[in-house]
């Protein structure tokens, strides 16, 4: 049996990229870093009480009373175990990764919805991105971006982007053909069709994709603590490496609370959209 040297080729390719594209990667690094820092500055800069009020209000408006109460209780718990700043720094990383995943993923999804050929080629790529063990992304990310939150964000973006791409494409493809035809019959341009008909009707599905992307980012952000992205992942990692079960559990608990708050809020945004249409 011949041993195909795939690993060697990947290594060589990565080497070549780090040498010849270094300024490109530096540019990206600086860009992403400043976004993360910006969010972190805002989240940590806002006094805890005000942040709490904002989260409660958002949860109340989108998901109702119970989620609002749960969110407040959860945030107070995080504050009391002194992990608020760590949580906010993780949240900043999640926000950044999700935002960039959206900026790339939604247009990609729209494009895929319009081209069967692109759809065919992209599907295995998306499968690859999503099912490749998440740790594998950490190594090249470190190669290109050193240690720190930036490679963590990049790995997270790659890992978390597939759902938003897939569900954007799916949502647009599921817009009833007769509605699209009716819009064409009234002389809608492709752009009008997209923004006035297809995206609004696909919105519940797109938001379901957003929800999944956020959840995947959060899980990846914790893993990326291994390459120094900081935040709650760091707390958990320290708990493991120093055998401090209590610390590790507290860090994990904060992750769970953050995940649940984000999940409930984003899910109910999608649901309320659907209900308005079908009521």
């Amino acid at each position: 049996m011949i041993r195909l040297p795939i690993g060697v080729y990947v290594e060589k390719g990565v080497d070549w990229l780090t040498i010849h594209w270094s300024s490109f990667f530096v540019g990206i690094k600086v860009g992403i870093e400043s976004i993360i820092n910006g969010f972190e500055f805002i989240y940590i800069g806002i006094p805890f009480v005000i942040m709490l009020a904002l989260i409660a209000a958002l949860a109340y408006v989108t998901a109702g009373k119970r989620t609002a109460i749960f969110s407040v209780a959860g945030c107070l718990l995080i504050k009391s175990i002194e992990l608020w700043e760590m949580t906010m720094s993780t949240f900043a990383l999640v926000t950044t990764a999700t935002l960039i995943a959206l900026l790339i993923g939604v247009p990609m999804g729209i494009w895929m919805s319009r081209s069967d050929r692109l759809n065919k080629y992209m599907r295995p790529v998306l499968d690859f991105m999503q099912t490749m063990p998440a740790f594998v992304y950490l190594i090249p990310a470190v190669y290109f971006f050193d240690l720190g939150p930036v490679p963590g964000a990049v790995a997270t973006i790659i890992f978390a982007m597939p759902p938003i791409v897939r569900l954007t494409s799916l949502g647009i493809r599921q817009v009833p053909a007769d509605v699209v035809e009716a819009s064409r019959s009234f002389g809608a341009t492709p752009k009008q069709m997209l923004f006035k008909v297809q995206i609004p009707l696909a919105m519940p599905t797109i938001l379901a994709g957003l929800n999944q992307t956020i959840m995947l980012s959060l899980s990846m952000v914790v893993i990326s603590a291994m390459i120094g992205s900081g935040g709650l992942g760091d707390v958990v990692l320290k708990g493991i490496s120093q055998m401090k079960i209590g610390d590790g559990f507290e860090g994990g608990l904060a992750v769970v609370i953050l995940a649940m708050i984000l999940d409930r809020i984003t899910q109910s945004i999608g649901k309320s959209k659907k209900q308005r249409v079908n009521k």
Partner: protein, 397 residues
């Protein structure tokens, strides 16, 4: 004036439609072509012209190509070859922008399953066509409200489509098509998804709207009764071909081939055939100046027992019977005006058989057909009504 004209329109579905055109022109059938080349024939050499203000119905069973045909008119489906003229503008030669302009300004379309935008309120749905033209919010809302009032949905402006019944949703669909004030309405099985009572109501409403608006309407349906009811003219399609074009009566009275004949067999003629088409010429008449003896002779010659009386301009005056005339002569008089019976039934030529039947139940005389000036046009006997219902010509007299 011709509003819309279609000349030699073809639509072939498949990978190499142009090659299949050759086979089609050689006379191969839809079935053979599908079997040998895997190409579907949507429309096969359709030609017709629709007059301004006319309701032109295209009727056929499913798969006959009628929905494909209507979509070729605004190029929602791109025809394989042929020409479509609207106001003498060749739609096939329009570029994308021109075509959009035609769709925006000249053509409104109503769909079988309504195709409303579920995420928008009723008024926003109706204003959609205007919004696409980038009209100002105030203007388009004003026009949308007018259109909604026209279709009887005032007060539902803020509702969502899912809150409305099927019939009401289709009214919204109609209002949406009317809001841009197009000359031409394309209605694709517009009432087929509605239940029978609502459908009838919508048909009546369309006819009454049409009498006010005078749009040019192309209406697709698979329901012959619907076609006969609302169509000024009907085109019958089979396997992508138009097999006959004519008024409802022409199609019922002289079907072009066995297919159409079979189709129209089950039709309720009572609602379609008119007095004008079953009446007999009034060959025997007495005039006001005629005397009793002349009247008797005329009736005896024609072998009839009563005769209509008219004046010099052939205006109907009444009817006299042979018994009364003979009695008159026996009593030594001659003036027919003494025995004239003015209690006769007059109808206009476009009266339906449906409305003639009760007249015969209450009268022993034939019905007389007259125009607006009361001039006699013809006579209808009981037997002609029966023949009209059966769809047969009366060859007696």
């Amino acid at each position: 004036m011709t509003k819309l004209e279609v000349k030699n329109l073809y639509k072939i579905f498949g990978a190499t439609p142009n090659r299949v055109m050759e086979r089609l022109k050689k006379g191969q059938s839809k079935k053979e072509i599908l079997k040998e080349t895997d190409h579907g024939i949507g429309v096969n050499n359709a030609s017709f012209a629709v007059e301004e203000g006319e309701i032109f119905v295209v009727m056929g069973l499913s798969g006959s190509g009628k929905s494909t045909l209507i979509r070729c008119l605004n190029r929602l489906i791109e025809p394989t070859s042929g020409e479509v003229f609207i106001d003498n503008q060749n739609i096939m030669q329009c570029d994308k922008a021109q075509l959009r302009e035609v769709r925006r300004k000249k053509i409104g379309m109503v769909f079988q399953n309504f195709a409303l935008l579920p995420h928008r309120s009723i008024e926003e749905n109706v204003a959609f066509g205007l919004e696409i033209q980038n009209q100002k919010l105030d203007d388009r809302m004003k026009k949308a409200h007018e259109a909604l009032e026209l279709v009887g949905l005032k007060g539902y402006e803020k509702s969502m489509p899912s809150e409305l019944s099927g019939g009401m949703q289709q009214r919204v669909g109609l209002a949406r098509a009317l809001a841009t004030n197009p000359d031409i309405l394309l209605m694709d099985e517009a009432f087929s998804a509605l239940d029978p009572l609502i459908r009838k109501e919508m048909q009546d409403e369309l006819l009454s709207l049409q009498s006010k608006m005078q749009k040019t309407i192309i209406f697709i349906t698979h329901d012959l009764d619907e076609a006969l009811k609302i169509g000024d003219r009907i085109a019958i399609m089979k396997d992508g071909e138009i097999v006959q074009i004519g008024t409802p009566e022409e199609i019922l009275k002289s079907p072009a081939n066995d297919y159409v004949k079979e189709f129209v067999q089950g039709v309720n003629r009572v609602k379609v055939v008119t007095a004008g088409s079953i009446m007999k010429p009034a060959d025997t008449l007495v005039y006001t100046k005629d005397g009793a003896r002349v009247a008797v002779r005329k009736m005896k010659d024609a072998n009839i027992s009563s005769v209509f009386m008219v004046d010099k301009q052939k205006k109907i005056k009444g009817i006299i019977t042979i018994e009364d005339t003979l009695k008159l002569i026996n009593s030594g008089k001659d003036d027919l005006s003494e025995i004239i019976d003015r209690d006769i039934n007059e109808v206009s030529p476009d009266t339906l058989i449906e409305d003639l039947i009760p007249l015969f139940m209450n009268s022993k005389y034939p019905v007389v057909v007259t125009d607006e000036e009361q001039t006699i046009k013809g006579i209808i006997f009981k037997v002609s009504v029966l023949a009209g219902i059966m769809g047969e010509e009366v060859v007696n007299d």
